[in-house]
Amino acid sequence: MSKEIVIEHLTRVEGHGGIEVTVEGKKVKDVKINLFEGPRFFESFIEGVKWDKVPDVMRRICAICTAAHNLASIRAIEKAFKVEVTPQTELLRDLLIHGEMVESHALHVFLLALPDYLGYPDAVSMVDKYAKEVKAALQLKKAGNMVHNILGGREVHGMNERIGGFPTIPKEGDLLAIRKAMENSKGTAELAVKLFASMGIPDFAHSDNTLMALDPGKKFGYIGDYVLISDGKRRKVEEYRELTNEKVVKHSHAKHSSYNGSPIMVGALPRVLLCNDKLYGTAKALFKEHKGKLDPKNSLTNNLAQAIELVHSVDRCIEDIDELLSNGLEKEGLVKIEPRKSSGIGAVEAPRGILYHDYSFDENGCITKANVITPTAINCANIEKDCRVAVGKLITEGKKNLEASLELIARAYDPCISCSVHLVKVKFL
């Protein structure tokens, strides 16, 4: 007899998705993640648009990864036109992307994932018992948003980070305000690690994972031009097509990615595991203390990795601000751009993993071709794999338990479905 388990609408995730499982007797016949976010065709409608406003449109792919989309878009354009930005711009970008990580991880770890482990439908319902923690989490999230606000101009779809630099340089007092907010929230970030390290993280999805993360250079971070892979290889982002092998899958939803025939996992867990030698300070100490719990074969430990990144990113924001202030802030203006017929690929670690933007331009600097690969699209095949493994193990537990467990898996990846620009078929059995 065939039985279907359908989670029609995943909640506490960004965007719209569901999980569909078909079970025959005690055997899993099929698992599908349905992403039924309507397609928006960014790569099509951006064609013909002149370079100067391309990031303004493309960052609207996603709200919560807005700075990552913006920066990936900007980097692709700067590479195409061979633009070199100043060290101050590099530092401000680093601050912005670490601020985004704080905002997004605070939201996800405390407000979206934690309710699962404590048995609540949402963070607001947790307030009666955990008022202090929820309020502290909101303050941490706010500290991240301050970075968005002050550097980008607003929380979502900030516009002050542009091709060639920042038109308006933040004021010293505003940077100090961010610094203070980060200092005040340090304890909350560390609490996240403590909470997820003490929680019994289920291992029903235990299976091999192929991990990928951008090589941030010397210090742990989220911007890079090379991809580190768990098989020990290091490849250029320009080879992203071979690294993702996006394929349209019939009877499925998002284009599926694979590397050497296996699904791929990107996100906090791959970053922390592949780049742990680049961690330092408190985050490094916490990694050492809990590294036994960060299991490359258990995607559910992603939340703990996010918590470690929270600690790192809070510290890094403070570090970047100190460096900016000790260098002295300078009004630099934007680097002059000379468009040409060319192409470029920009990659950034969004909170949920590697994000690629690839553009080609004509001689006037108008887009002739665009391709975007988002982390949730890359993760999709891996989430399905995890769900298949979990269903196999949990099949005896009855429908309700199974549904909750599958939602737990999907949510551990912090999927951002509005991001998944590539969607194919939603098939309801």
């Binding site: 909640t11 995730v13 039924f36 406003k53 949402d122 307030v127 516009m159």
Partner: protein, 266 residues
């Protein structure tokens, strides 16, 4: 007093307007304590299939599923508020409406022509249902959504700005980027409410709050920018980022279509 029942719903978009509600941070818990949330997909697992007093809907109608959900939400809500540009004019994904067919878009992005998703050309909610209030922005402003909540809790109708960004620029005494600096600023035709945020940073308005409804003099904006040296297609693209479904801009596009257009910018 019983707390008003609120549903926050999301159609096709970036989920940024829901996120802006969560970004109320300092006021979030106090605010949510005064209402009963019956649906808020991004923040809560609670999903009750029930009538609501106020439905806040973000996202554009881009698939048949979106449309069915919207009609259902309308039926179950006393008041329906469109939050954000997607829900008002379709936002950026509507940019090529009437220019490129859905088939062409499918072919380009998915290399297939079949209509996998039962896709509709993206539009705002008011094309299909009666909308009681439209709160513009990409994304909406936290100050505005806070004001909407407070007004409604007090039984008032929230005030939505119907004058251009230029007014806020003048109030802030910012230098005019269009007249003084020759930058391609869309401030004259775009709805205010952002406190002229971009011009304040030295960035020309890209139009993310959408054109002022029924009062968009797109032809004059085009004439002014052409005078500053920008070519027609460049200006038209910019007007269409957030305004393709607005009457004034659609008309202008139609007019330009009959002429030959160049490429590139200045």
């Amino acid at each position: 007093m019983t707390k008003p029942k609120i549903g926050v719903y999301s159609l096709t978009g970036c989920a940024g307007d829901q996120l802006m509600i969560l970004n109320l941070e300092d006021d979030l818990l106090a605010l949510l304590g005064n209402v009963e949330i019956v649906a808020f997909q991004e923040a809560s697992s609670v999903k009750k299939d029930t009538e609501v007093d106020i439905a806040l809907v973000e996202g554009s109608v881009s698939t048949k599923t979106d449309l069915e959900r919207l009609k259902d939400i309308r039926k179950k809500s006393k008041m329906l508020i469109a939050i954000g540009d997607c829900a008002i004019g379709g936002c950026v994904q509507a940019m090529r409406n009437q220019e490129t067919t859905l088939k062409e878009k499918m072919k380009k992005v998915y290399d297939k022509e079949e209509d996998y998703f039962e896709v509709l050309e993206p539009y705002g909610l008011s094309k299909y249902v009666n909308v009681d209030l439209e709160l513009p922005g990409c994304p909406i402003e936290t100050t505005e959504i806070r004001q909407v909540f407070l007004s409604l809790l007090h039984g008032d109708i929230p005030e939505i700005k119907d004058y251009p960004v230029c007014v806020e620029c003048k109030l802030n005494e910012y230098q005019c980027l269009l007249v003084d600096k020759g930058m391609p600023c869309l401030g004259p035709i775009i709805a205010a409410g952002c406190n002229a945020r971009c011009p304040g940073l030295g960035i020309d308005c890209v139009g993310c709050r959408g054109p002022i409804k029924d009062e968009t003099n797109a032809a004059e904006e085009l004439r002014t920018l052409k005078e500053k040296g920008y070519d027609e297609r460049y200006i038209e693209n910019r007007l269409r980022f957030f305004g393709a479904n607005f009457e004034g801009i659609a008309k202008l596009s139609k007019m330009l279509k009959e002429k030959t257009s160049g490429k590139g910018g200045k």
